[in-house]
């Protein structure tokens, strides 16, 4: 029996084959899936903000792109993954609202996506697929067995990346 493990907002979970990881309702947030395909282990994080550096409160590491990616690597190592084998797939980072006179905070999706790609690069994790941007929400499911990331939307189709 395979379980579907839910990842909440500012949360991170690990899964082994045959389980799946799911996170629902990604708007400007980003779902980061990191997997070791030979060991069939994966971790998913649901981050909200690009960086913990300016934050006054950074207790929850899974909330920020930089600390969440550090955490993903640590967790994968603990679970027995080979850090040289890690690959990543990401989705989310949309801009949900548009105001005239846009403030930075509303472009948070774009900044999140940039930050995630930058920190994945720093940790030498290869980004193999992404589905970011747009102005719509996403629910994503990662299958540890196949490394397929299923992206569901409302009114913008369904795809596997």
């Amino acid at each position: 029996m395979s379980n579907i493990i839910q990842v909440g907002m500012a949360d991170m979970k690990m899964a082994r084959v045959p389980d799946k990881l799911i996170t629902m309702g990604l708007g400007s947030c980003i779902g980061i899936c990191v997997t070791d395909r030979t060991k069939k282990i994966a971790c998913m994080a649901h981050i909200m903000l690009p960086s913990s550096q300016q934050a006054k409160n950074n207790n929850i590491r899974a909330k920020f792109a930089d600390t969440a990616i550090e955490m993903l690597v640590e967790e994968m190592q603990k679970a027995g993954a080979n850090t040289g084998n890690l690959i990543a797939k990401i989705a989310g980072g949309a801009q949900m609202f548009k105001f005239s006179g846009q403030s930075d905070i509303l472009k948070i999706g774009e900044r999140n996506a940039q930050a995630v790609e930058e920190y994945l690069g720093k940790k030498r994790i290869k980004l193999v697929a992404k589905d970011t941007g747009g102005n719509y929400g996403r629910t994503i499911t990662f299958d540890v067995e196949t490394s397929d990331l299923l992206v569901k939307t409302i009114g913008h189709g369904e795809r596997v990346i």
Binding site: M9, L26, G27, M96, F97, K98
Partner: protein, 209 residues
């Protein structure tokens, strides 16, 4: 940091009372607009972890219409009015004087969208009017932004603004109900970090116990 958990009963009661009056005014305005009776529940004052907020409206992946207004002034905050898509379509019909069911909730026209935005304007304006009278503070709402999508996706960009300073958020929530139709929508007021103290102090209950 997360001093929200230290709010006293008196402070929570004061917050509940202002949201009661604010939402009461908003409900009356909506009732007049669609010429139908609107009921509301006793407002809830919730101190929630971010993850829990989407559950207030039935889960992160249910489709909703969200009207979001950024409020500037003495105590900046965010206002969010969340409606189930079917109910948003019904509201658009009511405001436009059409039979309910005319609007397809999968395809809102520009007129429907501007009708819904106007509802957002009116609700926020009346709510803030009451809040301003009570506190003597000034509140200026932005033009509403409308989003139609998964509840989680609508909410996360708003929560992201709080994310840098807090792990918890204070949510003043009121459910508006229409006769026989159940819940119309949920009205949320989320004070920005720092604004809560200003509001509490204006209400004369500013001492953290």
């Amino acid at each position: 940091m997360d001093e929200l958990n230290k709010l006293s009963t008196v402070q929570l009661d004061a917050l509940r009372e202002i949201s009661n009056i604010g939402a009461g005014n908003a409900a009356t305005a909506l009732a007049k607009l669609i010429n139908s009776r609107i009921d509301m529940n006793v407002p809830r004052v919730n101190i929630l972890q971010f993850t829990e907020v989407p559950d207030l409206i039935g889960g992160p992946d249910i489709p909703v219409v969200g009207l979001y207004l950024k409020v500037s002034g003495d105590a900046p905050c965010s206002i969010l009015f969340i409606l189930q898509v079917e109910m948003a379509a019904a509201l658009a019909d009511l405001v436009m004087g059409r039979d309910i069911g005319t609007t397809n909730h999968e395809e809102f026209s520009e007129i429907d969208i501007s009708a819904l935005m106007e509802i957002g304007n009116i609700l926020a304006g009346t709510y803030l009017g009451a809040l301003a009278m009570f506190t003597g503070l000034s509140f200026t709402p932005s033009v509403p932004a409308l989003g139609m999508d998964m509840a989680g996706a609508i909410i996360d960009v708003i929560l992201a603004q709080f994310g840098e300073v807090a792990d918890y958020v204070l949510v003043l929530e009121t459910e508006l109900k229409r006769e026989k139709q159940g819940v119309v929508g949920n009205f949320f007021l989320l004070p920005d970090p720092g604004s809560l103290e200003i509001i509490l102090s204006a209400l004369g209950v500013d001492v953290f116990e």
